[in-house]
C-alpha cells in the first residue's frame, strides 16, 4: 500500500503511555500516511508542551518506523480496528564524547565513580581517566590479563577520594585494590593491593560486588563461583603455594616492582563456593538492591543459574540448548535477566520468583545480533539495554520492542570487538579492542 494513495484513509488510534505525559484516553482519527514525526507533533500539540519533546511510538510491541498505513499493511492489521499506540520518550542518537586509546585491549570498563572512567586491560593495568580524558592513574594489578573490574560501593566511607575496586584476572586470582585518587592535598594517585582472592584453578572470568559493598562474587573457568566478603584479613588465609626453583625467579621478577614487605597483599579465602555449573562460568552478577541475597550466573554449559547467596544453593536453573552464555545482566526492576550467548542472541528470561513455577524456563524473547554479543549493560530504566558485540557495534534495545535495536553506534574504525560496556549517568563507556570510547546516551533518570 503506497502511502501516497492512502492520503484520504485514516485509522482510529488510542494513545497510552507510561511516561509522565499522559493524554486523556480518547480516539483519534489519524491519517494512515502519518509517521512518527507527525504523531509526535500531535502529542506535543495535544499536551500543549512548552518545550517540544520527541516521542517514539510502540504499536503492539513494535517500534513504529514507517507510516501507520505501511505498518498496518505489513502486519495485516485491518485499518478499521482501533490501534493502540503506546508512546515513549524518544531516544536521542548517542553521540561520541571521547576516544581514549589504550596500549592493549580493554577488557572491562566502569563508569561507576563519578568523574572517572576506570578501565582494566589485557596488559594487567588498571587505568583511571577523568572526564577530560586525562590519565589520572595507572597501576599494574595483575601479571596476566585482567578480565573484569568492579567498584565496591562504600557507604559512609570517611575518605571521599579513596575507593576499593576488585579485579579478576587470568592469573587465577582476583584482588581487592584500594585506590586513592589524586586531589589537591595528594597530587599523586596511589593504589594498594589489599587482598588476593585465592580459590580458582583456572582464569577468573568475572567479579561482581553486591550493592551494599560487603560481598564479592567471582566466577571462573573451573566451573566454580566464589563468594567473598570484602573485609581485608590480617593474615594470609591461604597458605603460600610451594614454589619450586623454576618459579622463584619469576616470582621475584614479578614482585620486583612493588615493595612487598609491608604492604604485601593478604591471601584471602572465599567464604563460600557455589558449585553447580558443569562448564566455564562466564559471568556472575548480584541481584539489584532489595534482593542482594540473590545471584545470577551464566556459563558455557548453556545454563543460567539463580543462587541464594546466603545458603549457597542454586535455587533455580534455566537450561537452554546449545547456548554458551557470555554475559548476563539484570534489568533495573530485576524481573528480567538478559543473557548473551555465542549463537548471536541475547535471550530474555523472566527471573521473578513466581515465574519459575508457571512459565518454566522458557525464554520470553530474544534479541538477534549480527555478531556475537559480548557484553550487556542495563541502566536505571527497566526497558533499555545496551549490548556490545564483536562487530564493534553497540546497540540500544527497548525490551518492549524486541524486533530490532532502537539505535546503535559503532565504536572505532574497522571491525574491532567490543568487550565491555558500562552505562551510568547518561554515559556509555565502551571498552574493547580499540581502547575506551565514551558515548553520550540517554540521561540516567535516577542519578
Amino acid at each position: 500500500m503506497a502511502s501516497g494513495s492512502t492520503v484520504g484513509l485514516s485509522c482510529s488510534v488510542v494513545f497510552t503511555t507510561h511516561t509522565q505525559y499522559p493524554l486523556p484516553s480518547q480516539k483519534f482519527m489519524i491519517p494512515t500516511s502519518w509517521k512518527r514525526f507527525h504523531l509526535s507533533q500531535l502529542i506535543n500539540k495535544a499536551l500543549s508542551l512548552t518545550k517540544p519533546i520527541p516521542f517514539d511510538f510502540l504499536v503492539k510491541g513494535d517500534l513504529l518506523r514507517t507510516s501507520l498505513g505501511d505498518w498496518c499493511a505489513e502486519n495485516d492489521f485491518s485499518e478499521e480496528e482501533t490501534l493502540e499506540i503506546e508512546y515513549i520518550e524518544s531516544i536521542m542518537p548517542p553521540q561520541k564524547m571521547s576516544d581514549i586509546p589504550h596500549e592493549d585491549w580493554v577488557s572491562s570498563v566502569s563508569c561507576k565513580l563519578a568523574g572517572y572512567f576506570l578501565t582494566a586491560s589485557y596488559d594487567g593495568y588498571i587505568r583511571g581517566f577523568d572526564y577530560s580524558q586525562k590519565l589520572t592513574f595507572s597501576a599494574l594489578a595483575h601479571a596476566a590479563p585482567i578480565t573484569s573490574l568492579c567498584v565496591i560501593p562504600t557507604h559512609g566511607h570517611e575518605d571521599e577520594l579513596s575507593y576499593t575496586i576488585a579485579t579478576s584476572s587470568h592469573d587465577l586470582t582476583a584482588q581487592i585494590t584500594r585506590l586513592s585518587l589524586s586531589s589537591e592535598s595528594e597530587p599523586k594517585s596511589e593504589t594498594q593491593t589489599l587482598a588476593k582472592l585465592h580459590l580458582h584453578t583456572a582464569p577468573v572470568s568475572s567479579i561482581a560486588a553486591d550493592p551494599s559493598g560487603n560481598h564479592l562474587l567471582t566466577s571462573s573457568w573451573d566451573t566454580l563461583i566464589g563468594l567473598w566478603d570484602t573485609t581485608v584479613p590480617l593474615t594470609d588465609e591461604v597458605p603460600e603455594a610451594p614454589i619450586n626453583d623454576r618459579e622463584k625467579k619469576k616470582r621475584r621478577k614479578l614482585n620486583g616492582g612493588t615493595n612487598d614487605s609491608a604492604e604485601k597483599a593478604k591471601r584471602k579465602a572465599p567464604t563460600m563456593v557455589l558449585k553447580s555449573h558443569t562448564a566455564r562460568v562466564s559471568r556472575v552478577v548480584f541481584g539489584n538492591s532489595g534482593s542482594e541475597n540473590t545471584a545470577y550466573s551464566c556459563g558455557f554449559d548453556s545454563t543460567v543459574r539463580v543462587w541464594d547467596v546466603e545458603s549457597g544453593v542454586c535455587t533455580h536453573t534455566i537450561t537452554s540448548s546449545e547456548k554458551p552464555f557470555l554475559d548476563i545482566a539484570l534489568n533495573a526492576d530485576g524481573h528480567t535477566a538478559l543473557a548473551a550467548s555465542t549463537d548471536r542472541t541475547v535471550t530474555l528470561y523472566d527471573v521473578r520468583q513466581g515465574s519459575f513455577s508457571t512459565s518454566g524456563t522458557t525464554s520470553s524473547g530474544s534479541l538477534l545480533h549480527a555478531a556475537m554479543p559480548s557484553c550487556l549493560a542495563t541502566g536505571s530504566t527497566p526497558h533499555q539495554v545496551f549490548s556490545g558485540a564483536y562487530d564493534g557495534v553497540v546497540r540500544l534495545w527497548d525490551l518492549r520492542s524486541l524486533k530490532s535495536a532502537v539505535t546503535s553506534f559503532k565504536a572505532w574504525e574497522g571491525r574491532k570487538k567490543v568487550l565491555s560496556i558500562d552505562w551510568m549517568r547518561g554515559m556509555v563507556g565502551v571498552g574493547g579492542e580499540g581502547g575506551l570510547e565514551v558515548w553520550k546516551a540517554i540521561e540516567d533518570l535516577h542519578s
Binding site: 596476566a144 584453578t201 582464569p203
Partner: protein
C-alpha cells in the same frame, strides 16, 4: 430402341398366318399377351404423368367390364391391356380374336403422344399467375381448368369415388384419375413384386441345340483336317532336345530345390521386423495459428516497423516465415506463392530429421537425491565467523587445547600466538627462528603444554597462568629433576632441557633435536595418553617418522626402511594401532594400519587418491577419512573394506585439512578454494546401519592467497566451534 424392336416383333407375330396361330395357340397366347403387356407397360412407364383422359376412361370401362367378366377366373390379375375381342369371323364363320389395331408409327409410342398443351417440359409454376396453362398446337391458349376451392375439393373427394385414385396433372393443371395399369404398377411396387405383370421369372428353357433330334451332327465346314493336327511338332522336338541336352550337360539340375531368394524389391514397411520397433509416424505439422488466418484479429497484424524488420532479417533468422495479412473475404485471398517451398521444406524436415524413439526415463531428478535430514535438525554446527585473529603471514598450523579454551596458532614467520577461543586476544606470543611447521597440544588433561615443530626441532612449551598443580606436573614431566637413564645405543635424536636458571615462560622447556637435514616437521600426532608422540618431517631419508616417548625421553624410528615417502601418521584413538599414509613415486598411495604391540601390518587401505594431504580417524576408531590434493575425500569403514566406503568430491580445490569433532557428530574439511565445509557424520553402533554423512554448511571467509586457501581446521573439544587457519594470515573462529 429395344422397345421398338420388341414392338416390331409383336407386330411380326401378329402378322403370322392364323393357322400357325391356331396351331400353337396356347403358346402364342401367352406370347401375345406378353407382347401386349410390354407395350402397355411401356406406355405405363412413360405416360404416367400425362394421361389421356379419353383413353383413361376407356381403360377404366374396359377394366371394369373385364373385372366383371373374369372375376372368377383371374380376379387378381388385371388385364389392363387392349382386350382381345372375340368376334365371329365373317370369312370362316368361326370365332376369332381381334386385337385393337396398333399404328406402327412413331405416334404409337406414348411418349410422343399428343397432348393438348404444347409448352413442353417446363416448370409449370411459370404459369401460376396466368389464366392459361399453355398453348396448344395451334398456338391457342389453353385456359386453366376451373379449380374449386378447398371445400369443393373436399366434396369431390367425398362424392367422387375415383378421387382417391387420381393425381394432379401438372400440364393440364387438373386432377386426373390413374389408369388401371398405373394402379396395378403402384400395387406391385408396394408389394415388392416385379412391376411387369406379364414377366414370368420361372419360364421353362427353350432347348435349341440339345435334346433329342436337335444335335448338330453335320460339320459346318467341309475342309480336310490340316497336317499339323497329327504330325509331331518339329519345334517342340527341338525345344525338348535342347532341355534334354542341358540336363545331360548338367546345366539344368532337375529336382533341384528352389532357392527362395529375397526379392530384389520388397515393401520395407510391409511387415514389422521383430527386432525393431515399427517406424514412427511422421510428426504432424503444427496446426495453423490465429495469425495464419486469412482474416486474423487486428492484434496479429504486424505494424509497419515489424513488417520492415521482418523483411530486413534473413529468412532463417525470422521468427515465423510469413507475415499475417488480412483479407475481407476468402475469395480475395491470392494464390499461395510458397506452396512448393513449404512442401519441399516439409519433405526436408521429414527426411533430414531422424525419427528415433527415445526411451525417456520419466524420473524426477529430485527423487534421485538421497533423503537427507534437514541441516536445521542437525544443529548445532558452526555457522558464522565470530572472530578473527591476524597473523603476519600464513597461519599454517593451529591447535586447540584439550579443554577447548585456548588456541595456539603458528605462522610462517616463526610466531606462535596463544589466545582464548572466545576473545581472540593473543595472551602470549613466542618467536622462533624459521617457519613453524606444526603445533599440537598434549592431549592429557592433568598437564598443559604444547609442542611446536620448527626446522629439525620440536619445542615443548608450557602456557602461562596455569594452576600450580598443573604447572608442577607439566614441569616435572618435561623437565624431570632426575633424568631417565640414557639408552646404550646413542640416538641421533637429542633431548635437551634448559637449566632452571635460564628457563622462563618465553622459551621452550624441552627441545628435541631431530637428526640434521630431517627438515621441517609437518605433523605431530599424539597418542591419546599423551606419553607418545609421532612426528613426520618433510626431509630425511628414513628419518621422516619418529616416535618420541616423553617419560623415557627417548625417540625411535618405527620404520627401519621406508619405501616411498611417509606423509601422515596417526594413532588409533582406542587400539594400539598406528596409521601411516605414504606414497610411492607419485602413483601408489596407501594408508597402512599397523599394530604397535604386535608390530605387524594389519591392513592396507587403498584410497585411490593421487596425493594424500590429510587424514583423521573417528573418535570411535572404526572410521577413517582421508583427504587428497586431488579434491577427493575418502571415507573408510575399517571394519568393512580396504576400499573407501564413500568418496566425496565437493571441494573445487585441493583438500588441505580434515578433522572429526571429538564429541559432536561433525567433521570439517578445508580446501585451497578458501572454503570450509562442515559435515554431519553420524555413526551408528549398529553395524548394519551405514554412517550418515550430511553436508551442513560451507563456511567462506578466508581469502585465497598464492593459490592456498584454508590450511588447517581444528575443532574445539566441548563446543561445536571450529578454528581455521588460512593462507591469508587469519585464524578464524566459527561459532554456532
Amino acid at each position: 430402341m429395344a422397345l421398338n424392336s420388341k414392338k416390331r416383333k409383336q407386330n411380326d407375330h401378329e402378322e403370322l398366318p392364323p393357322s400357325f396361330d391356331e396351331a400353337v395357340n396356347m403358346e402364342m397366347l401367352s406370347d401375345e399377351e406378353g407382347g401386349v403387356d410390354i407395350e402397355s407397360d411401356n406406355g405405363d412407364l412413360d405416360d404416367f404423368p400425362e394421361l389421356d383422359p379419353d383413353s383413361d376412361e376407356n381403360d377404366d370401362e374396359e377394366y371394369e367390364s373385364e373385372d366383371e367378366e373374369e372375376e372368377e377366373s383371374d380376379s387378381e390379375q388385371l388385364h389392363i391391356f387392349p382386350k382381345v375381342k372375340t368376334v365371329v369371323s365373317d370369312i370362316t364363320g368361326q370365332e376369332k380374336r381381334v386385337y385393337p389395331e396398333i399404328e406402327p408409327d412413331y405416334d404409337s409410342d406414348s411418349s410422343t403422344e399428343d397432348t393438348p398443351n404444347r409448352v413442353g417440359d417446363i416448370p409449370m409454376h411459370w404459369y401460376d399467375d396466368l389464366p392459361h396453362v399453355g398453348y396448344d398446337m395451334d398456338g391457342k391458349r389453353i385456359l386453366k381448368p376451373a379449380r374449386g376451392d378447398e371445400l369443393d375439393r373436399f366434396l369431390e373427394t367425398v362424392e367422387d369415388p375415383t378421387s382417391w385414385t387420381s393425381a394432379f396433372d401438372k400440364t393440364a393443371q387438373a386432377d386426373k384419375p390413374l389408369t388401371a395399369e398405373e394402379l396395378d404398377l403402384i400395387r406391385r411396387l408396394y408389394a415388392n413384386e416385379v412391376p411387369d405383370a406379364e414377366y414370368d421369372p420361372y419360364e421353362p428353357t427353350t432347348e435349341w441345340f440339345t435334346g433329342k433330334g436337335k444335335k448338330e451332327v453335320m460339320p459346318l465346314s467341309a475342309a480336310p483336317e490340316p497336317k499339323r493336327r497329327w504330325v509331331p511338332s518339329k519345334w517342340e522336338h527341338k525345344k525338348v532336345m535342347k532341355i534334354v541336352r542341358a540336363i545331360r550337360q548338367g546345366r539344368i539340375l532337375p529336382n533341384k530345390t528352389k532357392v527362395t531368394s529375397t526379392p530384389q524389391f520388397y515393401s520395407i514397411w510391409g511387415e514389422s521386423s521383430s527386432s525393431h520397433a515399427p517406424p514412427l509416424p511422421a510428426p504432424k505439422p503444427p496446426l495453423p495459428t490465429n495469425s495464419e488466418s486469412y482474416n486474423p484479429p487486428e492484434e496479429y497484424l504486424p505494424t509497419e516497423e515489424e513488417k520492415k524488420q521482418w523483411e530486413e532479417t534473413d529468412p532463417e533468422d525470422r521468427e515465423r516465415d510469413y507475415l499475417p495479412e488480412k483479407y475481407s473475404a476468402l475469395r480475395l485471398v491470392p494464390g499461395y506463392g510458397r506452396f512448393i517451398k513449404d512442401r519441399f521444406n516439409r519433405q526436408l524436415d521429414l527426411y533430414m530429421a531422424p525419427r528415433v524413439q527415445r526411451v525417456k526415463l520419466n524420473i524426477d531428478p529430485n527423487s534421485l537425491i538421497p533423503k537427507l535430514p534437514s541441516p536445521n535438525s542437525l544443529k548445532p554446527f558452526p555457522t558464522y565467523k565470530s572472530l578473527q585473529v591476524p597473523h603476519a603471514s600464513m597461519a599454517r598450523c593451529i591447535s586447540v587445547s584439550p579443554d577447548g579454551a585456548w588456541v595456539v596458532s603458528g605462522d610462517e614467520t616463526g610466531v606462535i600466538a596463544l589466545w582464548e577461543v572466545n576473545v581472540g586476544k593473543a595472551v602470549k606470543k613466542w618467536k622462533f627462528n624459521g617457519k613453524i611447521g606444526t603445533v599440537e597440544w598434549c592431549p592429557r588433561a592433568d598437564v598443559s603444554y604444547f609442542v611446536v615443530g620448527t626446522e629439525d626441532m620440536l619445542h615443548f612449551i608450557i602456557p602461562p597462568n596455569l594452576p600450580p598443580t598443573v604447572l608442577q606436573l607439566s614441569q616435572s614431566i618435561l623437565a624431570p629433576s632426575t633424568l631417565p637413564p640414557v639408552p646404550e645405543t646413542p640416538s641421533p635424536v637429542k633431548w635437551s632441557t634448559p637449566s632452571s636458571t635460564v628457563w622462563t615462560d618465553d622459551t621452550a622447556i624441552l627441545t628435541i633435536q631431530l637428526p640434521s637435514s630431517s627438515g621441517l616437521p609437518v605433523q605431530i600426532a599424539w597418542h591419546r595418553r599423551g606419553d607418545y608422540l609421532a612426528s613426520v618431517s618433510t626431509g630425511g631419508s628414513q628419518g621422516a617418522v619418529w616416535i618420541h616417548q616423553i617419560s623415557r625421553r627417548h625417540s625411535q624410528a618405527p620404520f627401519k626402511k621406508v619405501r616411498g615417502k611417509v606423509q601422515l601418521v596417526l594413532f588409533h584413538p582406542i587400539k594400539p594401532c598406528f596409521f601411516v599414509a605414504a606414497s610411492f613415486f607419485l602413483t601408489q598411495q596407501y594408508v597402512r594400519m599397523y599394530n604397535l604391540s604386535e608390530q605387524k601390518l594389519l591392513k592396507t587401505l587403498q584410497p585411490g587418491i593421487k596425493w594424500i594431504s590429510s587424514m583423521d580417524v573417528h573418535p570411535s576408531g572404526d572410521h577413517l577419512i582421508v583427504g587428497g590434493y586431488d579434491r577427493k575425500l575418502c571415507w573408510f569403514d575399517l571394519e568393512l573394506s580396504d576400499k573407501p566406503y564413500k568418496v566425496l568430491r565437493y571441494h573445487t580445490r585441493a583438500i588441505r585439512s580434515l578433522q572429526f569433532h571429538p564429541t559432536y557428530p561433525l567433521f570439517a574439511s578445508s580446501s585451497d578454494d578458501g572454503a570450509i565445509q562442515i559435515f554431519h557424520s553420524r555413526i551408528y553402533n549398529d553395524l548394519m546401519t551405514d554412517p550418515l554423512i550430511v553436508p551442513l554448511k560451507i563456511l567462506r571467509g578466508h581469502e585465497v592467497t598464492k593459490g592456498l586457501g584454508v590450511l588447517q581446521v581444528k575443532w574445539c573439544s566441548r563446543h561445536p566451534w571450529l578454528v581455521s587457519g588460512g593462507a591469508d594470515g587469519a585464524v578464524n573462529v566459527w561459532c554456532s
